[in-house]
């Protein structure tokens, strides 16, 4: 095989056929007191845990074809792509580390966050029962595992971010963020004397190169980087992670940052770390940078690293109540 083709996942009809939602399911958006999005969230988890987004698959294929034929890099990317097809076929988790499960919910005025939160938590517990999620939530010190992915206080797992918006529909985005890649994230404070990094894009670039070299293959490279410049420590980190929801095909709306991203991706891929750190031309699949306002005394660069198994998916509950997954 000299080049590899984009693998075909099962057709949407088959996916719909396996859906946990009954055909023609609709949310009762007009009845916020009884609105139940639980089943749709369960379906969202089912898809996200087993179907890698198309843009990520295409990026893996493009990088596979850029690696030398028969090299470890090419073979490793082949293994990853084979895995993508199997997970989809069997509705099995792409990776046994099904991650920290994070949700972003945007809803109109009048929707109860308290109720939505309970429904999301129930869906997470049900998905765990069905082996779509591994029980990944443990007590910090004792390591005690409740077995259902729910922290008993309803605070840390699953993570749920809520926002009210002006549109009539509801949007729920999910991300499954693996532990290995979470561990190689990093936050820098500029200026950084050791790196020789000042408070400008050149300094930011040094931080990113440094973080990727430190990560090696540990975050299951090729990775995708979300980088937030500015903000306070918390918002900066949070936004760097939210950036990982972006599609790899979407370019930055700021032309200077767009160029910075594509130039730096090429530089990072010249580091020779390669897929899984075995060496090769593919160390990252993409880089998303965002600039935030900051306190004059602080200049943070926060980097979230997403593994190649970038599991994310969006559920749109349209004003009609119909559920659309993308």
């Amino acid at each position: 095989m000299s080049t590899c083709e984009i693998p075909k996942l099962t057709s949407l009809e088959i996916v719909e056929g396996k859906s946990v939602l009954p055909k023609g399911w609709k949310a009762e958006l007009s009845q916020p007191a009884t609105l139940d999005l639980g089943p749709a969230v369960l379906e969202l988890i089912r898809r996200s845990t087993s179907r890698l987004p198309q843009d990520v698959i295409e990026a893996l294929v493009a990088r596979r074809n850029a690696e030398a034929e028969g090299s470890r890099g090419a073979n490793t990317l082949d293994t990853m792509l084979e895995n993508v097809v199997l997970a989809d076929e069997h509705v099995a988790p792409l990776c046994q580390d099904t991650g920290n499960v994070i949700f972003w919910v945007r809803h109109p005025f009048g929707v109860s966050q308290r109720r939505l939160k309970a429904q999301i938590r129930d869906a997470v517990a049900e998905a765990t029962k069905r082996s779509w999620l591994r029980p990944n939530c443990v007590a910090a010190l004792s390591g005690k595992n409740p077995g259902n992915n729910l922290d008993p206080f309803g605070e840390t797992h699953p993570v749920i971010h809520f926002e009210e918006w002006e549109r009539p529909g509801i949007e729920i985005q999910i991300m499954q963020k693996g532990g290995g890649c979470e561990n190689v994230g990093a936050q820098y404070r500029l200026p950084d004397a050791a790196l020789g990094a000042g408070r400008d894009l050149k300094g930011v670039r040094k931080c990113i190169i440094d973080a990727v070299v430190k990560a090696q293959g540990q975050g299951c490279s090729p990775g995708i980087l979300g980088v937030c410049i500015g903000g306070d420590r918390v918002v900066s980190y949070e936004r760097s992670k939210e950036l990982l929801l972006r599609k790899l095909t979407q370019t930055n709306s700021d032309p200077a940052l767009a160029k910075f991203e594509s130039d730096l991706v090429a530089d990072l891929n010249s580091l020779g770390i390669g897929p899984m750190g075995y060496g090769g031309k593919t160390t990252v699949l993409g880089l998303f940078v965002e600039e935030l306002w900051r306190h004059p005394a602080s200049f943070f660069v926060s980097i979230s690293y997403m593994c190649w198994s970038s599991r994310r998916m969006t559920l749109q509950v349209e004003p009609t109540g119909a559920a659309v997954f993308e």
């Binding site: 087993s50 470890r72 073979n75 490793t76 293994t79 990853m80 084979e82 895995n83 199997l86 997970a87 069997h90 099995a92 988790p93 792409l94 990776c95 046994q96 580390d97 099904t98 082996s131 591994r134 029980p135 595992n145 693996g178 290995g180 561990n183 790196l195 020789g196 040094k206 190169i209 440094d210 070299v213 090696q216 293959g217 540990q218 299951c220 530089d267 010249s270 580091l271 020779g272 770390i273 390669g274 897929p275 899984m276 750190g277 075995y278 060496g279 593994c307 190649w308 198994s309």
Partner: protein, 192 residues
Amino acid sequence: MIHLSTPITETAIRALKVGDEILLSGKVILSRDIGHKFMVEQKPEWLKPILEDAVIYHCGPVVAKNPDGTWCFVSSGPTTSIREEPYQAEVLETYRVRGVIGKGGMGKKTSGGLQKVGACYFHATGGAGALLAERVKRVVDVKMLEEFGSPEAFWIIEVEDFPLVVTMDSHGGSLHDEVLATSQARAQALMS
């Protein structure tokens, strides 16, 4: 691609070097944090025949129970190995294990153990949980399931054509060290 089957002889393992790509078939035993601590602190006799000339796999699988009571691996990729660094060399020596599968590589102490016993560190593709589960042909047995819980139990499995890369060999070589050195040098050049 080199085909390797358990039981593995010392000669076969000593012939392997860093960078070799392997398809492993045969007996593999899953163990991670609790299991490694247990192996070193308790040194149970019953584990010896199970582990000799076999391969340990750092993995916390997603498993499902079939209606007939047997087990099936749903997703089973590698977990980070470095957490077993305090125990691995002693485990290798005590149980004469011929290899360890994991991800991320291990440290100097383990490298010493690999050299002494004649064993390799095999790297599996992180995130390839579904594919690696497909290559598990049979769940032979499980030990300490009640005591350790499913992700930590000693699952004894039979695999076929498990795709691996030798990243630490029995001669002190480490692909991780090599890649780290080249990438650091390149980073220096990019930053200057």
